[in-house]
C-alpha cells in the first residue's frame, strides 16, 4: 500500500528526515515512536503534503502512485487521512457542512454520486456513535472552542466519515485523559480491517495498549533506527529512549 524509500526532507534550512525506509501492507498497523524532535510529525506532514516541507531525496509510492507528486486534496481523495496533532479551528463553518463538502468531493473524485442531506445525516449519526459524539458538536463550527479531547475525537470522527485506506494519526493521544483515549482508540479499532492500514505516531506506549500495532518503529534523528513488534514499545516504556540513542550513535561511529 505504502512504500517509503530513503525519504529525506527539510523545513526551511533544517534537515529533519534523513533517509526513511518503510513499507506498509494492507491491513497493517505501524506505530512510529521516538523522542521529541526525532522527525515523527515531519513524516506525517510530508505524507499529507503540507507546504514548507521540502523533500530532498527519496520516493513515496501510495498504491503504486507517486504520492509526493500529488496535491494534499488528491492524496485525501485517494484514501490518505491525517489526524492532526493540532486540529485547526474554523469559525463560521459547521462540522456537518465541512464534512459533507469533504465527503462529496472525495466521492466525486471516485465517480460516485454525491450524498444528499438525508443520506449524509444517516451516515453521520452512525459514525457519531463510534466516538460518542453528541449531535450539538456537529452543528458547532469546526473545532471552535472544542476541548483538546473533543478536537481529537473530532479527528477520529472525520476519519470514520471519510473511510480512508491509510490513516496517519499524529500524536492523537497527546492531551487526552484515559476516558478520551479509550473512546478515540475504540473509534480507530472499529475501523481496522484487512483493507485499511494505519500509521500511529506517538511518544508514549500508553496508546498502544488500546491500539495494538503489528509493527513498532523507532525514529531517531530522522531515521528509523529500530523496528520490532509491540514488545519493542513495552521495552521503550520501561527503559526510555536513551539506550536507543546510544545504540544509534554507536552504529554511526
Amino acid at each position: 500500500m505504502l512504500s517509503i524509500k530513503s525519504l529525506s526532507a527539510r523545513v526551511e534550512d533544517k534537515q529533519i528526515l534523513n533517509g526513511i525506509n518503510l513499507k506498509i501492507n494492507k491491513g497493517e498497523v505501524h506505530a512510529i515512536m521516538g523522542p521529541n524532535g526525532s522527525g515523527k510529525s515531519t513524516l506525517a506532514s510530508v505524507l499529507a503534503g503540507r507546504e514548507n516541507y521540502e523533500v530532498t531525496d527519496g520516493t513515496v509510492q501510495f498504491n503504486g502512485e507517486d504520492l509526493l507528486d500529488m496535491s494534499p486534496e488528491d492524496r485525501a481523495r485517494k484514501g490518505l487521512f491525517l489526524a492532526f496533532q493540532y486540529p485547526v479551528e474554523i469559525p463560521g463553518v459547521t462540522n456537518a457542512n465541512f464534512l459533507k463538502t469533504a465527503l462529496n468531493e472525495i466521492r466525486k473524485s471516485k465517480g460516485l454520486a454525491t450524498l444528499d442531506s438525508k443520506d449524509f445525516l444517516v451516515l453521520m449519526k452512525e459514525k457519531m456513535k463510534l466516538v460518542e459524539m453528541d449531535k450539538a458538536m456537529t452543528q458547532r463550527s469546526v473545532n471552535e472552542g472544542f476541548s483538546g479531547g473533543e478536537k481529537k475525537r473530532n479527528e477520529v470522527f472525520q476519519m470514520a466519515m471519510l473511510e480512508p485506506t491509510l490513516s496517519v494519526l499524529d500524536e492523537t493521544d497527546s492531551g487526552l485523559d484515559i476516558d478520551a483515549l479509550r473512546i478515540v482508540a475504540h473509534g480507530v479499532n472499529s475501523l481496522r480491517s484487512s483493507e485499511r492500514s494505519f500509521i500511529v505516531i506517538t511518544h508514549y506506549q500508553r496508546l498502544l495498549d488500546y491500539i495494538v500495532p503489528d509493527f513498532v518503529h523507532v525514529l531517531y534523528k530522522g531515521k528509523i533506527v529500530k523496528s520490532g513488534t509491540k514488545e519493542l514499545a513495552l521495552e521503550l516504556e520501561e527503559k526510555g529512549y536513551d539506550w536507543i540513542k546510544e545504540e544509534a550513535e554507536a552504529a554511526n561511529v
Binding site: 503540507r50 485547526v88 474554523i90 472525495i106
Partner: protein, 433 residues
C-alpha cells in the same frame, strides 16, 4: 481643481431651480438653506479628516443628469427582488417611485407607506424630515436636502406590527450618467415593529451618482430592522447618510451589505437618546476590481444603560480599497453603557488594501467598551486542513471566505433575504477566484 470641488456645477444649479418649484413652502425654505450650505462647504477633499482616505475628485469630474423614468418593465424588477415577493414593494426608477411596478396594497391598519413627494405635508414628515440628518457640516447631506422630493415615507403607528417586510427597491441607470437623490424617512411610534429592506441596483453599466439620505426614528419600545444592500455596477458612486434616533427601550438592527461599486461611502450615525436602548450595526463589504468602499459609523451613547454592538467585515480583492472608521461616543451621562465594536478584513490580493480606524471617546466612568480591528489573509493552516480532507485549493479558499462573510449575513432575520444574499455573495466570491 479646487473650483470644481468648491462650487456648484452649472448643471446642478439648473436642476435645483426646477426641483425647488415643487413642494410645500416650508420645504422650499429648507432646500434653499441647504443649497447655500452646500455651496459654502463644497465637496469635501482628502484634507478633511473624515475624508482622508476617500477622494471625491473622480466624482466631481464626472457629469450626471436627472434621468427619464417609466421605462422599466416587471421582468427587470423581478431579478432584484432579493427579499422575495411576499413584501410591500416600492420600486424607485431613477429615484422616482414607479407606482405601476410597486405593490403595497393591503397594508396593515396603522401603517402608512408611500412616495415621500406625496406625503410632504404629513404631520410625521413635517415633524421629522431634515430634523435628524443635519446638513450643517455634511456637504452631501446638504446636497441631498437641497433636492428633497422623492423617496420612501414609512409611518408605523403605536402598537402596530407591520406584517410583511417593506422593500424599497432602487433601480438606477439611463443612457447618460444618472443622478438621484433618494430621501427615506421612517417614523416608528411607541411599541411598533417593522422590517425594511433598502436595496440599490443598476440597470446597465452606465455610471450613476446616488446621493441618498435616510432618517429613522424609533419611539419607546419600537423595534426596527433595516437592511441596506448596495448591488450597483462597478461605475456607480453612492454616498449614503443614514441617521437613526432611538428613544427608551427601542431596538434597531441595521445591516449594510455592499457588493461593489466604484466609490461607496456609507455614513451611519446612530443617536441613542434614551435608556435601555439596543443598537446593532453590522456591515459586510465585498470589493473587487477598483472598488472603493468606505464605511464611517458613529454610535452616540447619550444616556445610561444602553447596549451597542457593531460588527463590520470586509473581503477585498483586485485593486479594491476598503475604509472603516468606527466612532463610539460615550457621553458623561451614559453610565452603564456596553459598547462593542469589531472590524475584520480579509485581503485576497497584494493590491487590495484597507484602512481601518476604531475611535472610542469615553466620558463616563462606569462602562464596558471594546473594539478591535484585524486585517489579514485566509489562514493557511485552515486551507491545508480543508485540503487534507479532499477539498480542492480553490474550493477551500472560497469556503473559508464565505464562512467569514456569512457571520454578518447570519444576523439578518429575514430567511429569504439572508439566503439570497448568501447565494449572491457566494457567487461573487466564486467569481473572484
Amino acid at each position: 481643481m479646487n473650483t470644481t470641488l468648491s462650487t456648484m456645477p452649472e448643471y446642478l444649479t439648473r436642476y435645483f431651480e426646477n426641483n425647488n418649484l415643487i413642494g410645500p413652502v416650508y420645504l422650499k425654505e429648507i432646500r434653499k438653506k441647504a443649497i447655500g450650505r452646500f455651496e459654502e462647504l463644497g465637496l469635501p477633499t482628502t484634507k478633511h479628516e473624515e475624508w482622508k482616505y476617500t477622494n471625491l475628485l473622480p466624482l466631481s469630474k464626472s457629469e450626471f443628469h436627472p434621468a427619464l423614468y417609466n421605462t422599466l418593465d416587471k421582468h427587470e424588477v423581478s431579478k432584484d427582488m432579493i427579499a422575495g415577493k411576499d413584501v410591500f414593494l416600492l420600486v424607485f426608477e431613477n429615484g422616482k417611485l414607479n407606482s405601476e411596478l410597486s405593490s403595497y396594497e393591503n397594508l396593515p391598519k396603522g401603517v402608512t407607506v408611500g412616495d415621500l413627494s406625496e406625503n410632504l405635508e404629513h404631520p410625521a414628515v413635517i415633524a421629522n424630515l431634515t430634523k435628524h440628518a443635519s446638513f450643517e457640516n455634511e456637504a452631501l447631506v446638504a446636497l441631498n436636502t437641497a433636492h428633497i422630493l422623492d423617496g420612501a415615507f414609512i409611518y408605523v403607528e403605536a402598537n402596530v406590527e407591520c406584517s410583511k417586510p417593506i422593500h424599497l427597491l432602487y433601480i438606477t441607470g439611463g443612457e447618460e450618467n444618472v443622478l438621484v437623490f433618494p430621501r427615506n424617512i421612517l417614523v416608528a411610534e411607541k411599541n411598533s415593529s417593522v422590517n425594511i429592506i433598502e436595496s440599490y441596483h443598476s440597470r446597465n453599466e452606465q455610471s450613476a451618482f446616488v446621493n441618498s439620505v435616510s432618517e429613522i426614528v424609533l419611539d419607546q419600545h419600537a423595534k426596527v430592522e433595516w437592511t441596506k444592500v448596495q448591488m450597483e455596477n462597478q461605475n456607480t458612486f453612492h454616498i449614503d447618510y443614514t441617521e437613526t434616533k432611538q428613544h427608551n427601550d427601542s431596538i434597531i438592527d441595521i445591516h449594510t451589505i455592499t457588493f461593489g461599486g466604484k466609490l461607496i461611502r456609507n455614513n451611519l450615525h446612530m443617536v441613542l437618546k434614551g435608556q435601555r436602548i439596543n443598537s446593532n450595526l453590522n456591515g459586510l463589504y465585498v470589493g473587487g476590481g477598483d472598488s472603493h468602499i468606505d464605511n464611517h459609523t458613529l454610535v452616540d451613547h447619550a444616556m445610561p444603560n444602553c447596549l451597542s454592538n457593531e460588527l463590520y467585515k470586509g473581503v477585498l480583492d483586485g485593486k479594491s480599497k476598503g475604509v472603516f472608521n468606527g466612532k463610539i461616543f460615550v457621553r458623561k451621562d451614559a453610565q452603564k453603557t456596553n459598547a462593542y465594536q469589531s472590524n475584520k478584513n480579509i485581503l485576497m490580493s497584494d493590491d487590495a488594501s484597507v484602512n481601518t480606524k476604531p475611535q472610542l471617546e469615553i466620558f463616563a466612568d462606569d462602562v464596558k467598551c471594546s473594539h478591535g480591528a484585524t486585517t489579514g489573509q485566509i489562514d493557511a493552516e485552515a486551507i491545508f486542513y480543508l485540503r487534507s480532507r479532499g477539498i480542492g485549493l480553490e474550493a477551500a479558499r472560497t469556503f473559508l471566505t464565505i464562512a467569514f462573510a456569512e457571520d454578518v449575513l447570519n444576523r439578518i432575520s429575514n430567511d429569504i433575504l439572508r439566503d439570497e444574499l448568501k447565494f449572491r455573495i457566494g457567487n461573487k466570491l466564486n467569481h473572484i477566484y
